[in-house]
Symmetry: C2
């Protein structure tokens, strides 16, 4: 079954905003075997919005509109959808009452304009909006369905989950889709392709596609079937074959990010980590602490943007910095060991490099980064040549650092039993 999504709002046609709700909806639709085949973004314009809904309704069995359900003159989705389907709009007494009571509860008088939100398309079921005043609508006709959903994600998401998903499960033929994402770090896209293609091309179900992101490559597996079991069958056969072929560069098969995987492993082993960053400026600490519960294993970090800080806070000697330069293997090593020693963490990470755009030389070009990991079995240093702009260099450096920690823990796991 195919669906299309229409995101409504003139602000989505400016350089400043883009639709992200459709990604949430697509994930859930894909999960029930529904493919999204068109997404259209259209402004708050009566003629264009009506035309867009009519066209979609004409060609697709499932249409979802996002936004344009507010109380202002600009909120045209109810009206245009009614016109596109040739239906009338009527004021719904129960909605008037519920909107009025929302205002009363906050000690406010309902402005006249809010009555627009009580308009229901003839034949539509109302979708409750516990997070706002804009109710959604659900119109079914001859096996086809049109959903009108509000624009703010915090209103759209609970409404879709609570009111649309159960109805869709009734409506959508029981074609199941099983998806899995292998996330890979430390290999290029073509290296992954070379390892994986000979295997996945043997399968027409699941379908495998390869996607590259900065510092990461992903393999997306999509298995189809009449039941979830059937859809899963191919996936669960192919997945371990790919994992084995690619090896330890696979860091996750359940969607977990690299910082999540590292966090889980540290936590499971009662280990801790502390970081000392120069060119990444706090990004590594920020990524680690993005994970709720990271205080269980993250002791802290130092961002050393001056040589004085490296000496004062981490006991990196100024002679060492003078002899090798602040961007050097030796300084990265001293930073990692310094922060590990001072904090008492199981692992200490040190990063120094040239993020650019300024500061590069012939010997030490922009993108050169040294990453050191000090642990129970000594210190290792990686010399990494990152590409692209400042932000991209910083991202790749933290990606490599997290990956070094991940691999070190995996190695420990083979050498010794957990401490607990």
């Amino acid at each position: 079954m195919n669906a299309e999504i229409i995101a409504v709002g003139s602000e989505l046609l400016t350089p400043h905003r883009s639709d992200t709700n459709s990604l949430f909806l697509t994930a859930h639709l894909n999960g029930m075997g529904v493919d999204v085949v068109y997404k259209t973004i259209v402004g708050d314009d009566r003629a264009r919005l009506t035309e867009t809904i009519a066209l979609a309704w004409n060609r697709s069995p499932m249409v979802i509109t996002i936004g344009g359900l507010g109380p202002t003159e600009d909120d045209l989705t109810r009206e245009c959808a009614a016109r596109a389907l040739g239906r009338s709009l009527m004021k719904e007494a129960s909605l008037v009452e519920s909107i009025e009571s929302r205002f009363r509860a906050r000690g406010m008088h309902m402005p006249e304009i809010n009555l627009r939100q009580a308009l229901r398309i003839d034949g539509a079921a109302i979708l409750d909006n516990p997070k706002g005043t804009a109710p959604g609508q659900w119109i079914e006709q001859g096996g086809k369905v049109l959903m009108l959903l509000p624009g703010p994600p915090r209103e759209l998401e609970p409404m879709f989950l609570a009111a649309c998903l159960p109805r869709l499960r009734e409506l959508v033929p029981k074609a199941a889709l099983a998806t899995r994402v292998l996330r890979i770090v430390g290999l290029t896209e073509s290296a992954v392709e070379q390892l994986a293609a000979p295997i996945y091309t043997q399968y027409t179900n699941p379908i495998t596609t390869i996607l590259a992101a900065p510092g990461e490559v992903q393999l997306h597996l999509k298995g189809f079937g009449e039941s979830m079991g059937a859809a899963e069958a191919g996936v669960s056969e192919l997945l371990p074959r790919l994992e084995q072929a690619i090896g330890e560069s696979v860091f996750s098969i359940d969607g977990a990010s690299l910082e999540e995987v590292v966090g889980r492993e540290l936590h499971a082993r009662h280990a801790s980590i502390a970081v000392a960053e120069s060119c990444t400026g706090g990004l590594l600490a920020e990524r680690i602490t993005k994970i709720s519960g990271s205080s269980n294993y993250f002791l802290g970090g130092v961002v050393c943007y001056s040589n004085a800080w490296k000496s004062k806070w981490l006991n990196v000697s100024s002679e060492l910095i003078e002899a090798h330069g602040a961007v050097s293997s030796s300084v990265a090593e001293a930073m990692a060991e310094g922060v590990r020693r001072r904090s008492g963490a199981t692992y200490g990470v040190g990063i120094t490099g040239i993020a650019g755009p300024a500061g590069g030389t012939v010997e030490k070009p922009v993108g050169l980064v040294f990453i050191a990991l000090a642990g129970p079995r000594g210190t290792a240093v990686l010399e990494k040549h990152c590409y692209g702009e400042r932000e991209l260099v910083r991202w790749q450096a933290t990606q490599s650092a997290l990956d070094m920690v991940r691999r070190a823990i995996a190695k420990e796991r083979h050498l010794a039993a957990p401490r607990s």
Copy 2:
């Protein structure tokens, strides 16, 4: 003049990818007075892509397609555009030669499949692609234009700037558009609306719209005219009136981010900063060091995720932590003063709070953050109640911290001359 954009590629209809090229194109089109009225995202599907291009060509004077110009079977844009316009495709000898020579230069033999990229739509001008093998195409007919551009931003952007913009300047009627964005911190959307609406509603040109982002509100001004001078006239009259009404909460009128503004001010005054973070986990340091050249004023940061770190690295006494709790005004103050004293920076920032989702209590709920700023004239503490999820709490906390620094510098500026 109106334009529409078609982004081509099945990966753009998955939950994992979204089109960002259209934001770049929209900014440039708006700059010449062209409005984008539709964006459509369609997969690598012959029938759907042909229909989409035909519809757009039929209703809009300017159509831009993005992607689908590669050499593989999935790259259908050339073929579908030709079909939609009722034109033929022909192999272009000069393109064959240039693609072959690209391969030769890298010591490789050109695969037969790459000849697809030498197909030119009858009547199209070829747009050079110095960054890749996929040339773009430009088709003009009766005052209308269709552009086929490649998908990767690093190919699309230089091609659009070098080959499309100059042609568009000839084609587009000389309607000019002057835009300006006022960025505001520390006021809610409705507070800004209350201050600004009585002024901007007096103008039909420029048009003003209000947009809220986490920890920030923006006013977008759009002035129209036959010349740039005419378009600018209204904007340069309205802008200072809005600035005056909103006051020092306006932090930028040139697009600069808060971290950029703070960086410029610190640099101009030869001042420096160091930060001590708990719940923001390095995000503040990361934002400050995102700016190239930040080593001129950023000395460093400490991420104290444990109480031991607060004591050991910043001399925050454990008695103080015990008496008031780690999340308290006194501890924020001690962190700010500790990092300022140890680093010798002009300003020291301390942040401690509860980012959630765990760790909240009745007295100290999730979202409570204390932000302290220690400077030449003493220490100030802000108690802030942030809303939303972990990432949003962290973002708002750093936004407030940067804003405190900005306001402190502004106050200093009024009290004393710069140090230099």
